[in-house]
Symmetry: C2
Subunit: 187 residues, 2 copies
DNA sequence: TCGACTGATGTCAGTTGCTGTCATCACAGT
DNA sequence: ACTGTGATGACAGCAACTGACATCAGTCGA
């Protein structure tokens, strides 16, 4: 056995989710999180850049999935459809942990600082998607627009997925992209 | 003459812009801003909720312009076109202070916390636009999509306006909405 | 086997953003 | 002259975050 209990980072995430859920983000101190995880405040900040980041650890995997999905789309696929396919894949992934997503989102929407952090994470997704599209030869402007529009669709569909009882998130994504196309066409 | 110099809020904004520009956002303390404005730190926080907000004061006017523009569009106008018209009006407004916009944006892009704050302000615009569209009888989903897609176009066009030397921001907005339509159509 | 090294953690002091509370005092209205 | 009122100052205090140094189980090469 090691000198310390294993998976310190995971314990911190777990403790933070619990405490943020129980008494809210602002009413929780970092010292309390660390304490519940059997660690010190200083150690918390060695694992996470700040008090918010603990809720967003793991977002990198989703970003990689989005990028690789765009890269794997057939060459003839239009940029917006490549982006749509990427978000369908992401939706399938999220769907496997719906309850976790729901709890996490409830915490985030209850606090402005956390919403800010979520928005910049989504912006990072948009930036990564833009790069992935450029690699396919898509022009800068079209790549940015497809990526940002995709994020817009995802944001809306995600909220809808959690709000309604609809189980099939990927299908909801498909329908939402279709609706974007209708809206953009001036319908 | 009053007991205090007038326009304390304006002096704080001015001092903050100067200091953030000179030595960066993080390297500037609130005490320094207040000091340059001839006030105390405590007074700074009576005028602004936090150290970031001082850069975003006045955003409410732009939001009102967006909302009223959507409200004034002809009834037959499609949601996406009402949104486009609103951003054209906003662009015309911003164009009158291009140099100020440029300096402010340079400060914001240089710091992640400030980018977060900007994103949540834009999200607030999206929410207001969504409400304005619903008032016109647009369905929830279409309203959200048109608003969020509009924000996406604006974000991209704004950066482009400042990056290129292009003087006509409203026209750039029009072209960008046209390109969104092309992208959404799968071109 | 031993000693040097590593890496995750603890300890502690310090800065800064931000808040609550109370005092001050020119000005306005009566 | 009397009494608010509102913007400000003064001060104490909490919590987020950082830098510097200590600790010590495990590891690895001599």
């Amino acid at each position: 056995m090691g000198r310390w209990e294993p998976n310190a980072r995971g314990r911190l995430v777990q403790a933070a989710m619990e405490l943020y859920g129980e008494r809210g983000y602002e009413q929780t101190t970092v010292a309390e999180i660390a304490n519940r995880a059997g660690l010190t405040e200083r150690t918390f900040f060695r694992h996470f850049a700040d008090k918010r980041e603990v809720l967003f650890w793991g977002g990198g995997a989703l970003q990689e999935l989005l990028v690789s999905s765009v890269g794997e789309a057939p060459e003839s696929t239009a940029p917006i459809d490549a982006v749509a396919a990427a978000f369908e894949a992401a939706a399938a992934q999220l769907q496997e942990r719906r309850e976790h997503s729901r709890q996490r989102q409830a915490i985030i929407v209850a606090n402005a600082e956390l919403r800010e952090r979520e928005l910049i994470k989504l912006e990072s997704f948009a930036s990564a998607l833009t790069d992935a599209l450029r690699l396919r030869g898509v022009a800068d402007m079209a790549a940015s627009l497809a990526a940002e529009a995709g994020i817009a669709v995802f944001k809306i569909a995600f909220v809808r997925w959690l709000a309604t009882g609809q189980p099939d998130f990927p299908q909801l994504i498909r329908e939402s992209f279709d609706e974007l196309k209708a809206v953009a066409a001036g319908k």
